[in-house]
Amino acid sequence: MGEPLESAGLFLRLSAARIRAQLQYRTSFALQTVGMFLISFLDFAAILVIFANVPQLGGWSVSEVALLYAISSLAFSLTDLAIGHLDYLPQLIRDGSFDLLLVRPRGTLFQVVTQDFQIRRIGKVAQSLMVLGYALATLDVIWTPDRVALLIATIPAGALIFASIWVAAICIVFWTTEGNEAANAVTYGGTFFAQYPINIYDRWLRRFLAYLIPTAFVAYFPCLYILGKADPLGLPVWLQVSSPLVALAAALAAGLIWRTAVRHYQSAGG
């Protein structure tokens, strides 16, 4: 089992090389990262605008929704930082350069995600951390060890869930190269969905976007536990602590879907 470790090392080395390349243009890099950081607050501003008009949304206060937002955004921005270049996959398939990846002695998924590494995406991570700080500072949470542990475990679990969704959804391009925009509905759509309390959505939308695509486990369920809040949906409490397990299951499913999809790859016509 030396390969996963070796791949991780390779991932870090490739990423470090790309970061060094991007740091060649220091001013541009600084402007982009600061720009991303500032502009991502406009994203959170939507929530502040909502709460400028109403005191609570679906029974959740501004600090509680800020916690949902922060966890969902942090998990998604970490995923975006690590594997956001999956968005290049349609290009690789359209021009047939995916062929090259098939003959190299590495996993295809690994090779696609290491095609690039955009360090400016760290700006969004920083913004999410600041919103998390705001939420934690304004909430009255009694910090028991189990709650601290769950909060810490929730971030990587959420990132893994989003990564799985992304990998599974982008596979649509193996069947129809033009279909990549449909994946946005569950990737970018998934993080947007999870930023709000899921009890405000209609039941059938929840079935599709919260459970089948398990975004409810990114922020909603763990937040109920951390906040000691009664579930407005009245679902079992054990769901609130099962995010890490759901994340592992999602990753397995995504891996399976990827393998199936790659077998379906039919190079570019020529």
Binding site: I50, N53, G189, F192
Partner: protein, 268 residues
Amino acid sequence: MPLAFLRLDLEYAKRGYARYAAYPAATLAGLFTNTVFGFMRAFILLALFEGGGEIGGYDRAATVTYAWLTQGLAATIFIWGWQDLGLRIRTGDIATDLIRPVHPLRAGLAFDVGRSLCHAIFRGVPPVVIGSLVFGITTPSGPAVWLAFGLSCGLAIVVSYAFRAIYNVASFWLLDWRGTTILAITAANFFSGFVIPVAFFPLPLEAIARATPFPAMLQVPVDIFVGRVAGAEVVAALASQLAWAILLLLAATWLFDRGVRRLVVQGG
């Protein structure tokens, strides 16, 4: 033929339409995503009206209408990242456009009008129809309002195009354009009223938004459609859109012509 001077523009518009109509799977995928976001936004915004009431002139029905109409309009005006012109500048292909008999920005506008027609039909109308079937929406009170809404959408497309042209023309000067593009899109998303109605903003923020050209891309046609802006206010709203359209087109052209002077096309 009195419209002879528009003959080339018409040809460009046809090409713009055909370019996007040629990819039905892409259109369907985009429509799917638009619709999913439409449902999410409609439910989120409806949660603001649990106690009934009205926010900034929007009641429950107007807000649901807003949610679906903006989903459709966003595709029609193309609020998302657009790099067609910037890419031609960076690769040097723009040199080919410069020897053509039509100014590249004029050709681009005509092309974009054709594109917007395709997107209006296949990505603009369907979400609104779905929204009206599932939630029920408010519709304009008479033919005059429909006409004003149509005019307003047309102007919104021009304002949006001119704005996109400006951040694309930045490629003449900037080595790295990605940051500028992201900044431009995010600002446009928020201040155009696409994320949340401008009327919901707290006062200082609303004043800032109203001073920018962004509401002219999206919020103005929506306000006309739901009747938040009515009567003589409609004329004023259309006039401000027209003013922004002219101002931004002039700015884009001025920047483009200055950029061309410092253009260096590599190679033979």
